[in-house]
Amino acid sequence: MFGELWKRQLVEDITSSKFLINFVIILASVIGFSLLFLGHFQSLEESYSKNTNANDQLLSESSKELVRLLSAPLEFGMKPGPFLFISDGYEEKIPKGLVFRPKGYTPDIKETTGLKKASSPDLSVFYSTDLTFIVQFLLSFFAVLLAFDAFTSEKEKGTLRLVYSNPVKRGHLVLAKYMSALLAIGLPLLLGLIIGLILLSLSSVVPISSGFISGLSLFFIISLLYLSVFVLIGLLLSAFSHNSKNSLVLCLLVWIFLVVILPKSSGLFLNLKRFDVPTEQEIEERVRKVEREVWNRHSHEDWMTRSGQDASTKLNVAVSNEEQRARQEVYDLYLRKKIGAVRILQSVNFISPSSLFEYSASALAGTGLFHFEHLWKQVTQYRRDFLNFFMAEDRKDDQSDHLYFHPDYLSRRPVDFNRIPKFEEKDIKTGERLKDAAKYLVLLGLYNIFLLILVFNKFQKYDVR
């Protein structure tokens, strides 16, 4: 019985003009986006490569004297990867990268404002367009359009009466319509993804690995989970309505609220001041303040530099290090507050399935906030490795006073460029990405279960006359 209901529904859905239009638009969007992505990715890679080369160039010039390595302001942007195809994790408040900004002593890490985006200005509007965007907006809209008249159209046609004059369970019809709609929306998406993957692999621009293909497969499943929410919303509102027009209006209103208004309304609260996140100017003022406080604490002491082994020189170095630590704490606090603010806003958006999908796709792709936190962790480790290398090289030079990290009392010997540790961002492991995506997926799953129960319950009492 269920098989017959499902088969009939599927044939009706797939042969409908709604499906045909949906199919063409989705395929065109995914293929169009894939082609655009190739150009965008190439320019992102060029930009990243340019940064890396600039860093290497800086290190090469600085390697003529060991101490000059401390002065090299290295910039580390987020490494572009093929997963940007899935989600670029666009968050305008997320830092773009990190930089060593030396003050003549040890380098500290802070957010960069200097990194440039992809060079082509024509592509700038597509920076936030990715597969996630297409599914989040376009496909969810089509999902609602497929399901909004599931029950009302049959009621209006009189076929619902005819169906239920037979020994048919109400739940079977609900399930048949649900599965058929999901298939009707999933099929063009799957085909689009396959064609997109083929286009990417035919080009030499985007590196395709088995990891990427698995990621894309997982993205498809996550997309189905998300689209399922909107199919269920369509079914639910169809079960509440007694005619298709009312159902359509309700569905459109709900879609606009969940996909457009709710996620973006958090931007009204995205005033970082509300979360006590200081501005860049305030950060610089705080940094100067802590610097003054550190030196003021030692104002009664003699910290004038004289010679390398003089006690006052050693005190100067110790106080400078204290100053640097205090400065780094300010920068770290700033970054933590900023990330914390974004996380709070994300949690506000948990009520929106659209936001949940966006976050899970971004986590799966290892982009956005997750990527930045990962980069931060790696750069912090790199800083430790860099300083350890520096100290090890300096200790080999008997001419150095080994006062870390006063530039006047450290080695000026040249250092082999090839031995200098270079920062190379490691890809985020699949397990880590899935772990981060898991909480959003669980919530999406709960959303689905809740809506499914509502639909089943509502339809049990639906007047089929």
């Binding site: 044939v11 046609k157 004059s165 048919v168």
Partner: protein, 215 residues
């Protein structure tokens, strides 16, 4: 047939809607195999309500409906195995052909594994033209759809048949053809309940009751 138990039975059946309208007032009827019972009345007399109560589309206020001895509110799925239904203004699935519609509803009614020729036979029986069997139903006239609706009821081969305004919108020739089919079903031993305001339809009936719209 007079000694047989009724296939369709209503015991003290009443239905009062939420707005207070009493649509069915203590109806008692029993329709045996081979009997045709006609509910005759104007619009709003409660005829369709009675049909809907038998199909468990709405719950009764008081009383019970039985199909083959099964209480339709307590075991609706079992009861519906034994009843066919022809509704007024049948639209069906327009993008499907007549045969596909027939096949779908036949399977829902428990008639799987029928051949194409068996579907065609039923459609011939209701005087649908051969060339229309594989045409999409959205090209059908109202009369053709009504005939197809009747063939859906026939193919289920249930002991009870409920018809709601079966001749509404039919031309005189089609209405006459319908009466012939009704007589055939009666001879086959079906228990038939018709709701209609067409007095000529009642000529094929064993019993008829006249009702007026409730105040």
């Amino acid at each position: 047939m007079a000694n047989q138990k009724p296939i369709l039975k209503a015991d003290d059946l009443s239905k009062r809607y939420e707005d207070g309208v009493l649509a069915v007032d203590h109806l008692n009827l029993g329709i045996r195999p081979g009997e045709v019972y006609c509910l005759l009345g104007a619009n709003g007399a409660g005829k369709t309500t009675t049909i809907n109560l038998f199909l468990n589309f709405i719950p009764p206020t008081t009383g019970t409906c039985y199909i083959k001895g099964i209480d339709v509110t307590k075991d609706p799925l079992e009861a519906k195995k034994y009843v066919s239904f022809v509704s007024e203004n049948v639209m069906l699935y327009g993008n499907f052909t007549a045969r596909q519609n027939l096949e779908f509803f036949a399977k829902l009614g428990g008639k799987a594994n029928l051949t194409k020729e068996q579907y065609y036979q039923v459609m011939r029986r209701v005087s649908l033209q051969e060339k229309s069997f594989e045409q999409r139903v959205k090209t059908y006239s109202k009369g053709m759809r009504q005939k197809l609706g009747i063939s859906i009821a026939i193919i289920k081969d249930a002991p009870a048949v409920l018809l709601d305004e079966p001749t509404a919108g039919l031309d005189p020739k089609a209405a006459e053809e319908f009466l012939e089919i009704l007589t055939e079903l009666k001879i086959e031993g079906k228990a038939i309940l018709i709701s209609t305001h067409d007095i000529f339809c009642s000529s094929a009936c064993s019993w008829a009751s006249l009702s007026s719209a409730s105040s």
